[in-house]
Symmetry: C2
Subunit: 630 residues, 2 copies
Amino acid sequence: MLFEPEGKKVSVSAGTTIFDAAKDAGVGVRSECGGKGLCGKCRVIVKDSKALSDLTEIERRFLQTSEVESGYRLACQARILNDVKVIIPPESRVMFRKIQVVGMERPVRLNPAVKKFHITLPMPTLSDIRPDHDRLLDTLSSVMKIDNSEMEMDYEIYKRLPDIIRSSSFDVTVTIWDNRRIISVEPGNTSNELFGFAVDIGTSKIVGYLVNLTTGEVLDVESVENPQIMYGEDIMSRITFAIAKPENLEILQKLVVDEINKIINEACRKTGISPQRIYEVVVVGNTAMHHFLLGIQPKYVALSPYVPAVKKQINVKAKELHVNINSFGIVTVLPIVAGFVGADAVADVLATGIHESDVLSLLVDIGTNTEVFLGNSEDLLSCSCASGPAFEGMHIKHGMKAVTGAIERVSISSNFEVKYKTVGDTRPTGLCGSAMIDAIAEMFKRGIINDKGSFNLQIKTSRLRKSDGEVEFVIAWGHETATGKDITLTQHDIREIQLAKAAIFTGCSILMKRKNVDEEKIDRVLVAGAFGNYINPESAKVLGLLPDVPINKIKFVGNTAIAGAKMALTSKEARKEANEISKKIRYLELAACPDFKEEFLNAIFIPHKNLNRFPSVRRFQIKGNSKYLI
Amino acid sequence: MLFEPEGKKVSVSAGTTIFDAAKDAGVGVRSECGGKGLCGKCRVIVKDSKALSDLTEIERRFLQTSEVESGYRLACQARILNDVKVIIPPESRVMFRKIQVVGMERPVRLNPAVKKFHITLPMPTLSDIRPDHDRLLDTLSSVMKIDNSEMEMDYEIYKRLPDIIRSSSFDVTVTIWDNRRIISVEPGNTSNELFGFAVDIGTSKIVGYLVNLTTGEVLDVESVENPQIMYGEDIMSRITFAIAKPENLEILQKLVVDEINKIINEACRKTGISPQRIYEVVVVGNTAMHHFLLGIQPKYVALSPYVPAVKKQINVKAKELHVNINSFGIVTVLPIVAGFVGADAVADVLATGIHESDVLSLLVDIGTNTEVFLGNSEDLLSCSCASGPAFEGMHIKHGMKAVTGAIERVSISSNFEVKYKTVGDTRPTGLCGSAMIDAIAEMFKRGIINDKGSFNLQIKTSRLRKSDGEVEFVIAWGHETATGKDITLTQHDIREIQLAKAAIFTGCSILMKRKNVDEEKIDRVLVAGAFGNYINPESAKVLGLLPDVPINKIKFVGNTAIAGAKMALTSKEARKEANEISKKIRYLELAACPDFKEEFLNAIFIPHKNLNRFPSVRRFQIKGNSKYLI
């Protein structure tokens, strides 16, 4: 079969999906869900419909009749029966993704938990019959200048120790974890080959850093979808799945472990490093991701009083978790806080240092699950908000991630004309999260929508129209786009964004109430998360996503979760700090707050039901005649 | 098929050996080697030779032509082809074995490394959202009155912790190992079900104790052959096998682990205890057995300068070793000393307390490998002697273990008449080790053999005769025995015993030389080992097995290796002491002693080449005419 416009040919067995065939051919087909039939983004065009399996229910849901007539199919659904030509339209091409994989981090002294020591052991003689293990420890002690008599060693290493040390004339390199466990004895001098891996398991995506632990340098960054998404986009639906059957939790665990192995392998392939030379993986993730990774029963995290199984840092042998690094390597999962404020949140705080600052910070890590912190060195209060994946493009008609072709900035003039900017400055194919925020803020400012988010049907512009039974606003006309089709924001899209932003603002608002802090007392608002950097802070305020503080107090800090994980990977002091942070942060369970519902309902308004909280937005209130969609 | 005289019938598939069929039928057939064709002791009688497979080479070696004509076969060699009647003659019946499975031990305060705590956790509430693990540790801390924040827990336990504690309304029993690791969390109160297992892996046999760790009581004792014997009777031949191919070491490891699992299961079956309620196994064994059990490369223990891989106590998860006790139970292998002085020797010392006594003790633990210690609280020197399995009945024409029917005592009058006593006072079927020692000492005293162990052919008695080309002395006539055949001691048998006793005495002698101690300075001689208790000390002296000290200084202390293992199982203080003993004992490698050969050659004489060392034996020197076999 043939992929166009790439012109790539590949042979596949009958029954293979186009999505899998494209993977084999090395042809990128866009997908937000990883080929699970959840996103409808993997559209391809096939003219010879007989060469494919019949249209599925999922395709019927995502494709319009006219599209089907034009030969559109979903690559993850259509199975190849005969030789066929598949055209990948521009909107379905996989391109550079503009997500924040780096984040603010505080400098640390390089002092990883895994260290290597190259030593030469004295050869045994009849007057020196010390056992191999004693010989090793004695020599190590003299090099490390500490008493090693209590140092542990993996049982499996004992087995081969005699052969290893003799294979290299008693010249070996010893890898020690946390000054208390020998995790590797290698023949010869391998002391320059010491690598680690940091992983942030997000609800939607997984980011990994391959780090040279002798220099602290990040050698490669990998970012992939979290494949668990096939069992639910948000945390609660995945937990529901996990507790339905005992084997389901194992499925979720295996999915994430396999994906971590994939990005480790990919990073190693790119850099020419052997996974055997990776000795530690430091993992962060929210409490649910943490439990899924470790295969820990997550049921009670989801039920009042929302108790996780374990809080403290967990060190597991990589082998026990089936993570493919050095045979005796360690997976270190950083401690969590509570409920849904997980190790990623601890890493956020570690990276930003808000826990040791005198100024009062509000830290918001926006994601499918959003963590919010308010406080300073004296006290830090946290909560978790179920913001959902709308900002990631899910459930938004033309939503997409911030890859090439995504509209990332939108402005609307007083005569309702739209200007936009795309990632990579190409023709647009859809809207990413920052564009949705811009668009809604701009529409509100121009009176196109009201404070309830409803379209003002009195507006005179051809951009506001009804299509397929739903009112929508055209951001880009078909003649401007890469797809030839209009890119719009629908009434339903706006509702989705309102719910997401309300979830986040409710977290901020309740924390402020509990700490008796108003907007004026907040010294800075730090916005973290994969796409945080691209948000227009003004738009975020108009939307009511963030509290109304002066723009200069808002700072975008990027992916602080992975940054914090990397700090803990490269510095034992940072790791210790992470453990102290975990103990220090207080947690507020929003689900248990009696005022949650009211706060949430108020926050659905744009920017908020109580305009006194958004003095800088008040001036955009709509004057004149309006007729709103209910 | 039918077993007689039991009259037991059993159906077997064609090709099954008689040995296996007997096992299935629950009919005991004697075997020293476990059915491996090494001992020739599993003789059975089958009249219908066509119902069996052809005679094997092994059978030709062990059976005389006349025996084959009478229908004798080896049960482990003959395969059943058709329905057949098998007669098990008296000498091949398995009977009560008189071996020492208990030994001298010093009393200890019951304080095992594994302990159980029955606790009730406070239920989580919205105002107490501590994670399950914190909740557990906090409650434990208040019960144990120690800070548990550093306590480790097996990763696998985390996984099920939320369900376990909720399955019993937060009422659980926690098992802690060594005050530092939670190895089990069980619903409800199981604090009375706390068991441990002590194992002594000898070169020839494995002894196990099932111990109630809430009382210290031994509930069951198991004793089986070490199945590794099929790959060599002595340590060196097993090491040779182990290093021939990498998988061979795994074979030896699996054999001993499977056998340990068998005796654990058997002990549990007899007592109605679940193996899941055994939380720790404490193992002792000589250095080779230690390395085999752990699968550690033993090659360099056998090569100068005889360096073992590891000396210190090793704690392995039972699961990693495939030992079937509680899923998270621990196997604790006590520390070794060096070379071939292993953890069994440490246990010997621990049980006898010679390391903290002011009196000068010579401790001899007789086995296939014999350990010798000389010293007191100031200094303790040890060595290991390759004494071989002759005293266990191997390579001795009518040799057998001390089971019912074995002659265990022999005396010979001045007119060469023999009196003997059998285990169980039945008709005799063979000679056990103590009888061999008696017989040779008596023959020497009566001038039947000389100091070289050669028969005096001038002796006038029908008991001294030539049979099958070899000179032998009849201990019991056929009409007295259970088999109807004469029980004899051959010239070859005597040579075997001389080599065994010379190996042991050489160890004693060299240690005495090194410590500059003569027989008079030794305050006591402690004889340990499975069959030690049944040795006549006078005979042992005449044979030259033990140094010539007054009889009242010789004390039989039994199986001190298993006794020491049990002490370490039931008492953390004893375990600590074992570790101190391991460090304190000095080791002498006999193979590296320049005077070894001469000492050994001198010790082959009965009692010794230098009669000045055996003043109490000198009076038995032969007078009169003698003509000796060369």
